[in-house]
Symmetry: C2
Subunit: 377 residues, 2 copies
């Protein structure tokens, strides 16, 4: 293997693989990136056996072949080089020599044959999907996924193809058992999702990164990402880079039965105002529970909190509440997380009693709901 | 105590005390800020018993008095308030009630009489000092101070009044035993510094913060900071805020005998180039030692490093070296730290042999030198 590449392209590729490689892997090759040189360019690959990324970058290849070296170390080196051509050549012992101007680096390598192969997928299985919608759906759900390793079936977002009013609809749901976020996108067809799949958080965040800030500008054609689903993998492809994510095995819980249907007490208020009030009142909530007490009375909602060490806080907001008096406790952090991803100016907060989950919905975007379990007072 | 204050002023004061208060103090009142209301404003004070800060802020005081509450909690609350008037009132049990618009906070307090008094100092003892010079001297020395608690006499910067060519001169020196930085400023008189004092790092950084980015602009009058020294405290004052720092007790080591006088081998090179070469080559140095090998030959300086796990690196720079061949090892991090604070475009690197400290000097600013001990190869 021997090629010349400019610093900018190489650094871009090496930056791309940094979040995938395992920092302290017990399997040394998982800390490495696989470099494959062929024809007009090179590919860089990294995997943690759950999520893999592979990208193509232009290079002047004089000898095809492959090598595998520490992704972090190569990144650190290339970052410090001048903006000029970098020459890479594989040596006999799997080491790689990197030369740039007057710097010479000999970088320890591992036999690239040991690099775990990516799952196979077929070009024809890919389907285009508008990037804006996909990013939005991920953003509005992924925060609610669990980070507890023992609850592996909640460590991701559940994708399911459903029908709403006879229209094909893609649903995403995430929950950690204390809160849940669900969003539907109607008119979006995605085959083989009848049973549903669970996509891990890390892979989804990589796909989100792959999409980038490619928000659609007026008059521009909407960007697309190409997606494909095999038996155990989800693959996303955009501009020469693919992200492969292994699906989480296991059953996603019966989330539908958790969503209360009889929350008949509703408050409608400004999202910004709700956020700012919650932030103020929760300063006095204890660090762990972040419990805030809500008192609903005709025309008003009062939030309060207290901590043994620091004191108490209370704030009242005038709202259009007309139900019975109700006192219920909620975790401020969970409410704030949900409000943060809502796109609307106003939200609905729907309640039943102090043992039923509260539901937040962005006004005008009823395809999205967040549920927060109540806290004991 | 009762007063009204606008959010901006209050938040500025509370931000100021945050770095002083102890997060996990065993003495609860040290986590608090002392609020004293009198006449046209309030003062906020915080101390960790080594460094104290006290600042005055305008307020509309309706009842003079004082209170003490958690500095962090008060900051968190005020940060979340709207830009409007804040009303503070002390209650019987040392608690404080804070009201802003529709928010009411009752904040736990401690009897302000328990707050440690600041040392006394006299207004007439303060002497003006140009802020630019003072900041520069701190920046160029403080990085070399030790952070090891057991070496308390090295945990700061040594200030000493000396004479250079018959002129009064202020000298600052810091060392951690492995490297040292020394800077002299001639024409600067500072009384009672004949014996020298050691000022702790934290206090100096607070004084630097107090000075702010007040770099002198062309045509502007240079800003000054007022400084005063008592038996055991150093006090800095600027625009209504004072920082009081307790001097470190103990002897500063005999640094003069450590500075080699016979480094007859000299290399002169671009500071930027030296920094960028060191960064590249040190990528292959082991994380802890960061040892880089220097090989000096007629007309060239070669830097190299190697790590068992990752490989090796080498880079040669053409320099005006004309001494004997010399091979010596240095810690790249120490050299980089020293080069980072030097103001000149070019630096001198002065050596003798592989057991003598190397000396870095900014060309044209010979009042500043940094010394780095050699590493065994």
């Amino acid at each position: 293997m021997e090629f010349r590449i400019n610093k900018k392209d190489f650094l871009k590729g090496l930056a791309m693989v940094q979040t995938i490689v395992e920092r302290r892997s017990t399997i040394p090759i998982l800390s490495n990136t696989l470099i494959q040189a062929a024809e007009e360019g090179i590919t860089l690959t990294a995997t943690d056996l759950e999520t893999a990324i592979k990208g193509w970058f232009p290079a002047s290849v004089s000898l095809e072949g492959q090598a595998s070296v520490s992704a972090r170390k190569l990144f650190e080196i290339v970052r410090e080089l001048h903006e000029s051509e970098i020459h890479l050549q594989k040596k006999e012992n799997n080491w790689v020599t990197l030369i740039s101007e007057k710097s010479v680096f000999n970088i320890a390598g591992i036999n690239p044959e040991e690099f775990p192969p990516l799952p196979k997928f077929k070009e024809e299985d890919f389907r285009p999907f508008p990037t804006g919608q996909f990013t939005e759906m991920i953003e509005r759900t992924v925060f609610a996924a669990s980070t507890e390793e023992s609850r592996y079936n909640l460590n991701g977002v559940f994708f399911k193809g459903i029908e709403v009013d006879g229209q094909p609809t893609l649903r995403m749901v995430a929950t950690d058992g204390h809160r849940l976020s669900l969003i539907d996108k109607t008119g979006v067809e995605f085959s083989s999702l009848e049973k549903g799949i669970i996509l891990p958080k890390k892979g989804l965040l990589e796909i989100k990164k792959l999409i980038g800030d490619g928000a659609q500008k007026e008059g521009e054609k909407e960007e697309v990402i190409h997606l494909s689903l095999s038996e155990s993998n989800f693959v996303a492809k955009k501009e020469g880079v693919i992200v492969v994510t292994r699906l989480i095995e296991g059953e996603f819980p019966d989330y539908e039965s958790v969503i209360p249907k009889e929350n008949d007490k509703t408050v409608r208020l400004s999202r910004e105002r709700f956020i700012s009030c919650l932030k103020r009142v929760s300063t006095m909530a204890s660090d762990k529970g972040e419990g805030v007490v809500f008192e609903f009375r005709k025309g008003s909602m009062a939030l309060s909190s207290s901590s043994q060490d620091f004191g108490d806080a209370k704030e009242e907001i005038e709202v259009d509440y007309s139900g019975e008096d109700l006192v219920a406790g909620f975790n401020a952090r969970y409410l704030l997380d949900a409000l943060a991803v809502m796109g609307a100016e106003e939200v609905l907060f729907e309640l039943k009693d102090n043992t039923t989950a509260g539901i937040l919905k962005p006004v005008g975007q009823e395809e999205h709901l967040c549920l927060v379990m109540p806290m004991k007072l």
